[in-house]
Symmetry: C2
Amino acid sequence: MAVTIKDIAKYAGVSVTTVSRALNGYPDVSEETRERIKKIAEQLNYTPNSIARGLVTNKTHTVGLVVSELIKPGAYHPFFLEVLAGIKAGLRKDKYDLILFTVDPESQDATSYEKLCNDRKVEGAIVEGLRLSDPYIKEIEKTQIPTVLIDIPILTDKVGYVSSDNVQAAFEATSYLIKLGHRNIGFINGHGDAAVSFERLEGYKKALEKNNIPYKEEYVVFNDFTQEGGYNSFKTLVFEHPKITAVFHASDLMAIGSFKAAKDLGMKVPDDISIVGFDDIELASLITPGLTTIRQDTFKMGYNAAKHLLSIIKGEKPQHILIPHKLVIRDSARKI
Amino acid sequence: MAVTIKDIAKYAGVSVTTVSRALNGYPDVSEETRERIKKIAEQLNYTPNSIARGLVTNKTHTVGLVVSELIKPGAYHPFFLEVLAGIKAGLRKDKYDLILFTVDPESQDATSYEKLCNDRKVEGAIVEGLRLSDPYIKEIEKTQIPTVLIDIPILTDKVGYVSSDNVQAAFEATSYLIKLGHRNIGFINGHGDAAVSFERLEGYKKALEKNNIPYKEEYVVFNDFTQEGGYNSFKTLVFEHPKITAVFHASDLMAIGSFKAAKDLGMKVPDDISIVGFDDIELASLITPGLTTIRQDTFKMGYNAAKHLLSIIKGEKPQHILIPHKLVIRDSARKI
DNA sequence: CTGAAAGCGCTTACAG
DNA sequence: CTGAAAGCGCTTACAG
C-alpha cells in the first residue's frame, strides 16, 4: 500500500539500488537520474520506511529519555518540562526522535536498563530523576550504551552527565546570607539519595568556613525536596534552634513550604526569618514575598544533555558538563 | 553481535521457524521443544529485535504524542506533566511505547501530520495543545491515522477526543458565584483559538440565563490563558466596570494574574473582589487566599486518551470521552 | 509438531 | 554511472 523504492524504481526504469543512492545523496549518480528519481518520489508521495532502514543500518535515529517518578511532586517535577523542551531542541538538528520511558524502582528490577534500551533499539539515552539507590545506577556505571545523566555524577567510557555547579551555587547562596549579616543559618537539604544534596551541603559548609562561622550539624536537616518536607523541617528546625535567622533550602518547593510554616508560626518573611531557595521555578517570582533563590538553567541542561549524548553516540568522549547558575535576589531575605 | 533467533536455532538444533513460534507462544510447538528453546534464549540473553519484527508485521507498538508549544507558559503547560503521566499509565498494560513530537505552526507547515506519523511508523497519536488555527487541525479532520485529541472536538472515523465537560464546569463555577450573591460577574476567558473557550463561555451564559441575569458582552474579555493575560484583562475589566464584584477565569494562571492586579489596585481578595479559576493547578492551593476553582482530572484525561487510542487502533469506534471535573471551594470567593 | 522458503523495505559491497 | 545480489532479523503461509 505505501509506496516503496521498488515502486519508484519501476516508474523510473532503474534499479532499486540507484533509487536508494539517488535519494540518499550518494555522489555516484548522474544528476539527471537523481532529479528524475526525486521528482517521481515526490509525485508518489514517497516516505522512506525508517524501520526497514533501521534494520539494515542498525541505526534507529532514536534516543530514549528515562525518567523516574514523573509526577511525584519531588525534586525533578518542577522543571522536568523545561529540561524536556531543552532536550527536544538539542535533538532537532540531527533529527533524532525521543522515546519516553518512565521507570520506578520496581520496574527497574523487572527490566534492566540494557534491556529497556535494547528492546527499542535506542542509540543512547538521557536519564533523569533517578535516586542513587535505584538499581539502574549500578547498571549505568558499567553500561556500554551511550548515556547522559542529569544531576547524577557518573563518568565512564560511554556515560557522561550534566549538572549545575551545586557546590558553588550553595556556596553563593549561603555567602549571600552571611553578607546580609546572618550567622545562624539553617539548611533544609534534599534527601540523601540525591547527589546534589551532598554537593549543596559542601557548598554550604564552605561558605561558613570561609567566613569563620562554625558548622553546626544540628542546623542541617534532610528532607525530600517537597513543599511538605520544607514545611515540616522548618517547624522543627526553628523550634529547636530559635537563634536561626535565615534558612537556605535545597529546593524552591521546600522554601515555599517554609513560607507556609513561618506564617503558621506567626513569623513574617523576611522580617523575622530570611529564606533562600534553589531552582527558581515559576512560582518563585509569583509568590509574596518574591523568593530569593538560585536559578538553574534547566532548558540548557536538557539542551546540553541532548547534544552531548549525540556526540557520545558519534564516538566522542563523555564529559561532565557544567551549566551556569545564578543567584536571583528577590525579597525573601533581608539584611540584619 | 546481538544474539538472534538464528543463533538460538543453531544451539537448539531446530529451525528458526520453530524458534519464532516457540518464543511467540504459538500452540503448534511441543512443550518440550518450547521449554528447551526458551531456556536457551534466556541463557543467551536473547532480546527480540523489535525493528525486524516491525518490518514484517508492520506494527511498531508505538504511538506518538504530538504536543504544541511545550514550554510556552500557555494553557496546557501547567498540566502537561500530569496528562503525560496518565498517558504513560494508560499505555503500560499493552506495552506500547511513546514517542514525543513537539510542533509549532511552522513545523506543521514543513511536515504534514501524516508524514510525521508515517516517518516513524507510529500506529496512532495523541494530540495536545494545538490551536484551532493550526494547520494540523484540518489534516486531522480527514486523517486515517488513529488519533485522540485532548480538548479539541473532532470526531471522525478514526479520530476521537477527551475533554472535561467545559460547558457544565463553567456553568457550575458561575452558578456558585451567583449563589454567593454576585450579580455582576466578569469572565476572563481564554483565547478564541481554543475550543474550550467557547464551551466555557456557553456555560457562563447558561448560568446567567438560568438566574435571570442579563448577559453583558462587555463583561467578557478574551486573553491567552497566561498569568500576564489575566493581569492585564483584570485591570481593564475592573476599571471599566466598577460594578463587577466577581470574576470567573478560564485558567488558574489568569486568576493568579488577577490576584496580582487586584493587589496593585489596592483591592483585597475576596473582600473587594471574588475570584474563581479553572484547572486547579498545584499553585491554586499554595497561594493565599486559596483559589476557588474547577478541578480537571488531567491524569485521567491522559489515561483515557491512551486507552481510547489503543481501542481505535484495534478497530473500535472513536468517541468523545468526558472526564469528570469538580468545583473546589477555597477562599478566593465570598458571599455578598 | 517441524522446516524450507519467501518476503517485509531498505542498504551496500561487488562487478561491470 | 548503474545493476544484480546478498543480507539485516524476523514472521508466516505452505507443505509435509
